[in-house]
């Protein structure tokens, strides 16, 4: 049986009315809300599965979590689907209104609120499909790191100054940074708490800071105070040359006598030392600072006495990218302006008895 153009038109009209229906909107919004309500509690009691949800974007977190526990995670894509359908529903509703804008321009506030919600949904999806969250990255002043997923960009930390109050509590973390694209500096900025660097969807902000062992201060009888770090080279009074090949903040000897690093924090520090003697022979060995000077060194008259460790402060920076951030900002502006306008139109509509009946 052939469908007449009239029937096809009616079917299309019905479909459009369905897509614009407020009742469908309420069903979808309620379904999303109920799923998220239940889900939020599942989330709270299963931090092992959901812990990463804040550190990663959705498209990275979801597949991993799904493979671990689909029965706990199913509500995330399902509620996401409801929200997307709800946003499509809002869009249809908005388009339907826009068709009648000449008589409805007084409702610009409401239109803007609806537009804002649609833009924010798109911005969220965009950011969670094409963005990333990374870090915190530890960076020492004067060094540079590659921006993850964006090989053309590097970030150089020019200087770092933590600001502490008299009780030693951090007040701020002032980072002078340069962002480079293909070797050319594109942005220089001071990054501190609540003052990130934002460029091309990238957002770079301070998270914390730490201290890494850089070397040790020693006392050497003929030379007084000296600082030794990895790579240091020292010519001693009797012509011997001392070099520091490695410095481990926390080390241990394995069963076979090999020395291994245990951690990054100061624990059982050890230095690998090379001594080049005047007869051109060399001695190489490990000096565990807590165990005392190796006999070879004391016999060679190298009477190092450790005084204190020397630390170097590094900054911990978070680097995220959200390509949808500008769209989200436009969406937020639409929402805010829309709300202010709607405050007025609410009373005007009430005075005129203008309200749709469903």
């Amino acid at each position: 049986m052939e469908t007449s153009p009239q029937t096809a038109k009616t079917v299309l009209l019905r479909l459009w009315e369905f897509l614009c229906s407020l009742k469908v909107a309420i069903v979808l919004a309620s379904a999303a809300a109920l799923l998220i309500m239940g889900g939020s509690l599942v989330m709270h009691y299963n931090p092992r599965i959901f812990g990463g949800m804040e550190q990663e974007i959705m498209s990275e977190w979801l597949p991993g979590a799904w493979s671990q526990a689909p029965q706990l995670v199913f509500w995330v894509p399902l509620s996401g689907l409801c929200v997307i359908l709800f946003a499509i529903n809002t869009l249809c509703c908005l388009i339907d209104w826009l068709g009648k804008i000449s008589t409805r321009w007084r409702k610009t506030g409401e239109y803007l609120i609806h537009t804002g919600f649609i833009l924010l949904t798109i911005a969220y999806l965009w950011g969670n499909l094409a963005g990333f969250r990374s870090g915190p990255h530890s960076i020492f002043p004067g060094t540079e790191i590659k921006i993850p997923h964006m090989p053309e960009y590097t970030l150089r930390l020019e200087s770092f100054t933590p600001q502490l109050n008299p009780q030693g509590r951090p007040l701020d973390m002032v980072n002078q940074v340069s962002l480079r694209q293909n070797g050319k500096t594109v942005r220089q900025a001071e990054v501190r708490i609540n003052h990130p660097l934002i460029h091309d969807g990238l957002i770079i902000l301070p998270t914390s800071f730490g201290q890494a062992l850089q070397g040790f201060r020693f006392h050497l009888p003929e030379q007084g105070m000296i600082n030794l770090a990895k790579g240091s080279r020292l010519t001693l009074a009797n012509g011997q040359i001392l070099r520091i090949r490695q410095l481990l903040p926390d080390a241990r000897r394995s069963g076979r006598g090999q020395v291994q690093q245990v951690g990054d924090r100061l624990g059982n520090p050890a230095m690998q030392i090379v001594v080049q003697k005047t007869d051109n022979s060399t001695w190489q060995g490990w000096y565990f600072l807590r165990e005392g000077l190796p006999t070879e060194l004391s016999e060679a008259g190298i009477l190092l006495r450790p005084i204190e460790p020397i630390f170097k402060t590094y900054s911990l920076l978070t680097i995220n990218r959200d390509p949808g951030d500008k769209l989200a900002l436009v969406g937020s502006l639409c929402l805010s302006i829309g709300v202010i306008l709607a405050f007025f139109s609410f009373y005007r509509k009430r005075a005129r008895g203008d309200r749709p009946d469903v």
């Binding site: 309420i26 998220i36 951090p170 609540n194 978070t318 959200d322 709300v339 009430r350």
Partner: protein, 263 residues
């Protein structure tokens, strides 16, 4: 904050509540007028105390449970005054002020010392976020009281309370204004989260429930268009909505752990 002034404030609101009760029982407008006068004085005192704390702290001091309850109570009293002056709803004050007493009563025994501001909260966006959040909540609390009163009035049908259609109008208005302010709260919060943590929305329990509050009240802005829902259903929804608000505000902080601790 000085405890005697706080107790005086509580006494003002308590007497106002008793005044409204007397007005309901004795049917004399004088009691309602006295109650309104007491609420006026209470709001003036509370505004002064709030301003003084702000002055001393150097930032809007709404960062712990005492301060949020105190601010919430102030916003609710102010909003009640707005509706009273606009619609002359008199005995309705009994319900709103009872709720206000619960809020203030929750604040009175708590420690009111102002602590140093955490660096990441030191931005006007945070102040706006808090300001809009609690004024929004206060409108939802108003809608809750009106919703409860609507249900009472469907049974009592008394002349001492506003008629059902006025109650419905006030409820719709409170929900609409609350939704608008809460939207601004969400916008300020997302902008702040973006500059403080590098993402404007994240799946932590407090943010998720704030979105739920927002969706719920957006839904309520539309539910009033559905003819069959316009009476008791709408009143019940206002009560349920406030339950969601309370869970978001207190439940998460007290029952579960979140990144928005209350104390």
């Amino acid at each position: 904050m000085s405890k005697p002034l706080l107790l005086l404030l509580f006494a003002l609101y308590l007497t106002a509540t008793i005044g409204y009760l007397a007005h309901l029982i004795c049917r004399r407008t004088l009691f309602a007028k006295i109650a309104l006068g007491l609420i006026f004085s209470g709001v003036l005192l509370q505004t002064g105390l709030l301003a003084q704390r702000w002055w001393v702290a150097g930032y809007m001091p709404v960062t712990n449970l005492f301060a949020t309850l105190f601010f919430f109570s102030w916003a609710l009293a102010l909003i009640y005054l707005y509706f009273e002056l606009r619609y002359r709803i008199r005995a309705t004050g009994l319900f709103v002020m009872l709720l206000n007493l619960v809020l203030l009563g929750g604040a009175v025994p708590r420690d009111s010392t102002i602590s140093a501001l955490i660096p990441s909260l030191d931005t006007p966006l945070f102040s706006l976020h808090i300001l809009f959040s609690f004024t929004g909540y206060a409108f939802f609390a108003m809608a809750f009281s009106i919703g409860a009163l609507y249900l009472v009035q469907t049974r009592l049908q008394t002349e001492m309370l506003p008629d059902l259609s006025t109650l419905r109008r006030i409820n719709e208005e409170a929900i609409f204004l609350g939704f608008g302010l809460f939207t601004l709260c969400m916008v300020a919060g997302s902008l702040w989260a973006h500059i403080a943590w590098g993402h404007w929305f994240s799946w932590n329990i407090k943010s998720v429930w704030s979105i739920l509050v927002w969706i719920f009240y957006a839904g309520m802005c539309h539910a009033k268009f559905i003819r069959r829902w316009q009476g008791s259903v709408y009143a019940w929804l206002s009560i349920v909505g406030f339950g969601i608000v309370l869970f978001t505000y207190l439940g998460i902080g007290l029952l579960l752990e979140s990144n928005h601790p209350l104390e």
